[in-house]
Amino acid sequence: MQTQSRSGASKGTSPLFGSMKGATGPLIGLILLCAFLTVATDTFFSVRNFLNILDQITVLGIMAVGMTFVILIGGIDLAVGSVMALTMMVLGYLNVELGVAMGIAIPASLAAAALNGLVAGILITRFNVPAFIATLAMMSITRGLANMITNGQQIIGFPAWFNMSAIIRYGGFLTLTVALMLVVFVLGLLYQRYRYGGRALYAIGGNPEVARLAGINVTLMTVMVYVVCSVLAGVSGIVLGARLDSVQPSSGVGYELDAIAAVVIGGTSLSGGTGGIGGTVIGVLIIGVLRNGLNLLSVSPFMQQVVIGAVIVLAVTAETFRKRK
């Protein structure tokens, strides 16, 4: 109680807002970006466009939450794009080809995703394979499995409500998929801030050996983090399937890099131990707003690649520069 009121008074923010710490730079960047786009285009600043942006970041947003946990403990997960594709294909195969009800097909496909995370986690903790290599291998294996399910073909023919969940805006505002993303954001923030496990992640990222000596079950936590990251990648795959009304094994190529970029732009350090979900939410929004804004400005596709790369560099150097001071 005492500590809470002290930090609250000195910073003038709520405890939850405290998890935005370290993300002030990105937040300012986001606000500047929005201000610029509001002036530069007459289509950016509208409720409809903001709702579009929320639609557009659902997949990346959900995936980036899992990636944040992984990067917080000093790990990396390169397999999320492939895990996403595998989850989609398992879902499509169960629901469309075998006629299994969605209520069973969705948990089953997420179980497949969890299994991937479990294997990666065990490789990393039990067999001491570096996270980069373990998940690089899983990326390839999982992509291959996803392709094998239908021999590379897409699957269409989901029930109508599935696509509608990504299109109908309840109360004129929230699609089911956007609501799901917001729930994941809030749960992530609460877990990181208020649960023992959330704080343990920072300890492991800071120094795994010290964390172990302090009584934290580092092995179990690490495995669980990779499982959670994979399940969230699976959830984002289901969201993508709903958005496209189809699933294909070539989905999500390169998404792991987008997710890592969002986490890093949001101020989480790749070496682990600092950062958090709050920053990642900002990072995801920056990427979403930037892509949307560049399209609205009719910037040529080749130029867009240059701008997005430049923004990543800018965000990260600004952050390291600020820390050095």
Binding site: S46, N52, Q56, G152, L244, D245, S250, N295, P301
Partner: protein, 312 residues
């Protein structure tokens, strides 16, 4: 329902219709969604749309999905936000997503599909190359030049896409007609690219050094295959065919040397022009044919030079 009627009417008066020269009234801004501008084929279509749009005083907004369906859906949402008057849609990936078409229908604007169209959700018209017959011609030419017999391989495009399926069908027909031709291997690329063509061909030549015929389903693949054949010192023994009529491939063919000797040149620029004209026609309430075919032209050393000077 209404769409169905329009399509029926469109087919009925297809013979009477000539969209060329329609007035641009009512269409000020066109959105063009392409799968991947790294591929020369799509780049040519884009140039066709852009140049012709400029002529007509139409603003063209191009978005590039980099082969990712989800990215494309987001980009199409953004196009709608910008208030485009017509939408030229080339679906990305094997799963031609129906969602962009639905978004455009919601906004009540014409949808013109080029090269591919989403299953179950076609646009107002489809402008496509004719893959089966042209690839039949390419493969027949390869077989003829190789003396009508020998070992052949096919390097496919991205598995499951419409062009990949059509080009396979056409080539298989040519192989079937020549009893002396033996299809010893087939491989699929992910991106129709030259580096994949190169690597796959090297492996194929290692497994079967006596291959004499290679069909690459895109010029990029064929160029890569030609490089691999050069490296293996087999340039005078192997005949390679490609497809698409990319700028760099046409220049290669015009030189009349090397193993890559035949391709089918698609009228990509013309497809772009046709798409803009169709968009204007639909916006003005005119009817357009359900399907407009733009034939590819068999291209060899003899006619490549003229296509280099002036891409169709």
């Amino acid at each position: 329902m209404k769409l169905h009627k329009i399509l029926m009417a469109a087919t009925a008066c297809a013979a009477l219709l000539s969209p060329v020269g329609a007035s641009a009234e009512g269409v000020k801004k066109i959105g063009l969604a392409v799968p991947n501008l790294q591929a020369d084929f799509f780049n040519q279509i884009k140039l066709g749309v852009e140049n012709y749009g400029k002529e007509k005083g139409i603003e063209v907004i191009v978005v590039d999905a980099k082969n990712d369906t989800a990215t494309q859906v987001s980009q199409v949402q953004d196009l709608m936000t910008q208030g485009i008057d017509a939408f030229i849609y080339i679906p990305a990936g094997a799963a031609a997503a129906a969602v962009p078409t639905r978004l455009a229908r919601e906004a009540g604007i014409p949808v013109i599909n080029v090269d591919r169209f989403p299953e179950g959700e076609p646009g107002d018209t489809f402008i496509g190359g004719e893959g089966v017959n042209s690839s039949y011609q390419v493969c027949s030419e390869i077989i003829k030049r190789a003396g009508g017999a020998g070992k052949m391989v096919i390097i496919h495009g991205q598995k499951g896409t419409t062009p990949e399926i059509d080009r396979t069908e056409g080539c298989m027909k040519a192989i079937g007609e020549n009893a002396g031709v033996e299809l010893v291997d087939q491989q699929w690329t992910e991106r129709w690219s030259a580096d994949e063509g190169f690597a796959i061909t090297q492996n194929m030549l290692t497994a079967n050094p006596d291959i004499t015929m290679i069909f690459g389903q895109a010029d990029g693949i064929a160029m890569g295959a030609a490089k691999a054949v050069d490296v293996a010192n087999l340039s005078d023994k192997v005949i390679i065919g490609g497809y698409d009529g990319d700028g760099s491939a046409l220049e290669y063919l015009a030189k009349c040397e090397g193993p890559f000797v035949v391709t089918a040149t698609q009228s990509t620029r013309r497809m772009g022009v046709l798409a803009v004209d169709s968009a204007i026609a639909v916006a003005n309430g005119e009817t357009v044919p359900e399907k407009q075919v733009s034939e590819a032209v068999l291209t060899t050393c003899d006619n490549a030079a003229e296509f280099v000077a002036n891409h169709p």
